[in-house]
Amino acid sequence: MNLLLSAPKGHELSEYVYSLPFNLYGKAKKVDGTLSVTKNEIIVYIDGEEIDRFGFSDYEEYACEQLVGCSMMVGRVDDRSQKCICAFTQDSFIAFAELCKIINHFLTTGHLVEESTIDEPKCPKCGLPLDGYTECPYCASKVKTFSKLFGRLKPYKGVFAIAILCTVLGELLNVLSPQINRILIDDYVIPQNMSHWLGFGLLCAAMFGVIIINTAINWVNMKCSYYVSLNLGQDLRQDVFNKTLELSMSSISKKTAGDLINRVSNDANKLQSFLTDNGKNAIVRIFSLIIVAVMLFTMNWKLALLAIVPIPLVVLVIKRAYNVIHMYYGRSWRFSNAHSKLLHDALDGIRVVKTCGTEEAEIEKYRRASENWAKAASKAEIVWNLIWPFSDFFMTIGNYFVLYFGSLMILERIPSFGGMTLGELTLFTTYIGMLYNPLRWLMQLPRQLADVSVSASKVFEILEENTDVRDDAQSVDLDIKGNIKFNDVFFGYKVYNPVLKDISCDFEQGKMYGIVGHSGVGKSTMINLILRLYDVTQGSVTIDGVDIRKISQKSLRSQVGVVLQETYLFEGTVLENITYAKPDATFEEVIQAAKIAHCHEFITKLPDGYNTRVGNKGYTLSGGERQRVAIARAILHNPKIIILDEATASLDTETERQIQEGLNELCKGRTTIAIAHRLSTLSHADRLIVLDKGRLAETGTHEELMKKKGVYYELVMAQRKTTKMREVTGNPNYVH
């Protein structure tokens, strides 16, 4: 990312390492400001005049604070002493946040990074946000994208070629029919020459034959097209899905689940239908356009010119008209959407409506929404009915010229155009009709091409993305013992916002550790790093002395068992869910694991026992039951390292106690790392790691830390107070 964008008036860019413009200062007024950074100072300029200057070490930390309508860069000594250095509209946020990160890095390491390595958040060409894409899907080279797309047809090239051949033959037959028609009119109908019945019969048979052959060709064409289309779609969907699962969590989290689902299904489907439908049509339609145009010009170039000349102008006018129609229909669609939302809301919340006695207000709201929709729909229809007949008339206006001048030619009124028979005129007008169809299609083509190229670049981006958390050639399969070490670890999900800062700690084999701290302090992040769902920004995490980036991901994760607060059960049976991480487990092992996790009892009571289907996301089971199934899954996994991330938080105290016994048995001799909101759950841990504001605040046993009266002591005290308050108010859900 370029952080050397503009120099203050009267200065040169080369004087600074970084220099960014900002546009707000003082009383939120627009200014022309520049924040420039030298090798050890930050200088603030407004209109070229220096108004402030700071040494890097004047503050302990630099940060970007996002307000409601703008953001500011602040320097902090502690929570109470901070200074607003400059303010800017949100478009500059990422650049300033990156600058803060670089200066903070200097404060901890003494080294000033002179070039930012993060990607630009916006496309430099069109300015649209990249949203995690490496290349703007709207500006990506269309030729490159389409050649990649057509490259996917390679395995089916034979069948695809047959489909194209059939379509070309079909088009040729379509051109042939009017010719037979012309001969019939000119040689038999007009001269009333019925003496050659044989010729007449043969021509009729030929017309019938053309229809039969065309039907057969169409059948083969359809079969081949479907074959290519379905296989190609399947290949694309499968490849995108495979690649998605290979990607790192940081790549995946840049995209929403909806976006990924869209890419696997909708985008891939769009490509599938484009390739086999439009892709084929493109070849054929352009081919038929050329054939028909050649035929028309050979027959009479002057008449052909008359038919074609108005087309470019008409196309331009019609395109604009279509845009207007599109906008009005879009508006009608929005009102219809608002209407259904309101209907959904009112009927879903009908109890609330009735109990609040707001029926009349809801009826009035509905009446207005319904009226708005009706008005918008009627306006769209009026616009459509006004525009469409005219646009279609203009589109085919050339035909009227041809009819007029063609008739004059038959009557030999314009000798300069030459003569013409009635059959030839019929043939000519039929060909012109055939010319308009591909033209109508061509008018829609740019929009379709643009749409498909965006889908294609989205799909190819996933297919071609290099995952950033990956095994390298030296990755080893390690038989893990369970000694974990964090060495000066820095990490942030967003590079400018570090969650963990300078964490160094040890987790010894076979011991139980608890990670505690306020919510959002980075507890789960530490676990994500141990699982290598993300790679550290700085520092390293080692297991048994080996950097986890050198351990193969499969080997690492097969030896770590995780139980999370939010359990995810897959659609399938209880048995399939327990054996998910170890499909080859014997049934005895499964029961043993279920017994330890205290889920055997409730499973036995289910009508289909271990074969009971858990439903989508396990919703046929209660929260506690789902959790116990997940614990059984972790137990069966037989891991060397166990991670319990609020594993028992959703359970009632009694169930928690039961499961705790099972967990204690499971954890024996294995390195266990637990996060729990209820600090009492962790009081028996061998060691507690206390995080505060992303940093390691203290470590020790429960007793040691209570004596120390530091961060942990305060957490425990605050929680005891809340528990007491719950007791007094009698509301277990009341949280301080």
């Binding site: 707000l24 009383k27 627009k30 307000l67 607003c84 949100q90 649209l128 946000p129 007094v728």
Partner: protein, 183 residues
């Protein structure tokens, strides 16, 4: 501390959290610290770096202003609510207003020149605002370019900058006809 006293203390504390505290404007003393952040002295207590929030930012800029701070555990604590800023002294009003104008920096749309739809979910809106003319790019415009009430238009561009028009009926006819298709 005996059990009854402890219970009373806890009940009192809870009562304090739940009650709406309308601040007595005559007792509020806001001042700027060295870094230009606002601190407050109120009822003998000093609160550093207070957080001021317009509770109904689209309906009123100067009434119902929440005054809060983060305690040492980084927990949100509300000191109370200013019902009407006009009850503050002139210099206190000015200080708070300046801060809020900063926090809620939101140019007002005064004219709409054109709206172009790129048919891929983005629209480009050429507008005149109180901070000058600008073409803003809006993503997912069904959600980010919409009416919050019958009159109030609210827009959020791709960068997160916010714009508003308090009453679209007061815009000129041409702006209104351009807007009509999109809102």
């Amino acid at each position: 501390m005996d059990n009854t006293a402890e219970k009373k203390e806890i009940m009192d504390e809870r009562f304090e959290i739940d009650r709406l505290e309308i601040l007595d404007c005559s007792k509020l003393k806001f001042y700027k610290d060295e870094g230009n952040f606002i601190s407050l002295e109120y009822n003998g207590e000093t609160y550093f770096n207070v957080r001021l929030t317009r509770l109904i930012p689209f309906y009123s800029k100067t009434t119902y202003i929440s005054v809060a701070y983060d305690n040492k555990d980084n927990e949100f604590k509300e000191i109370g609510v200013i019902k009407d800023m006009n009850e503050l002294s002139e210099d206190q009003y000015k200080m708070i207003d300046e801060y809020l104008e900063y926090k809620y920096y939101m140019p007002e749309i005064t004219k709409v020149y054109s709206i172009k739809d790129n048919n891929r979910g983005f629209i480009f809106v050429d507008i005149q605002t109180t901070s000058g003319r600008k073409t803003i790019c809006i993503r997912d415009w069904y959600s980010n370019f919409r009416m919050l009430s019958e009159k109030l238009l609210y827009a959020v561009d791709v960068d997160g900058n916010k714009y508003f028009c308090p009453d679209i009926d007061k815009l000129d006819k041409k702006s209104l006809s351009i807007l009509e298709i999109f809102v």
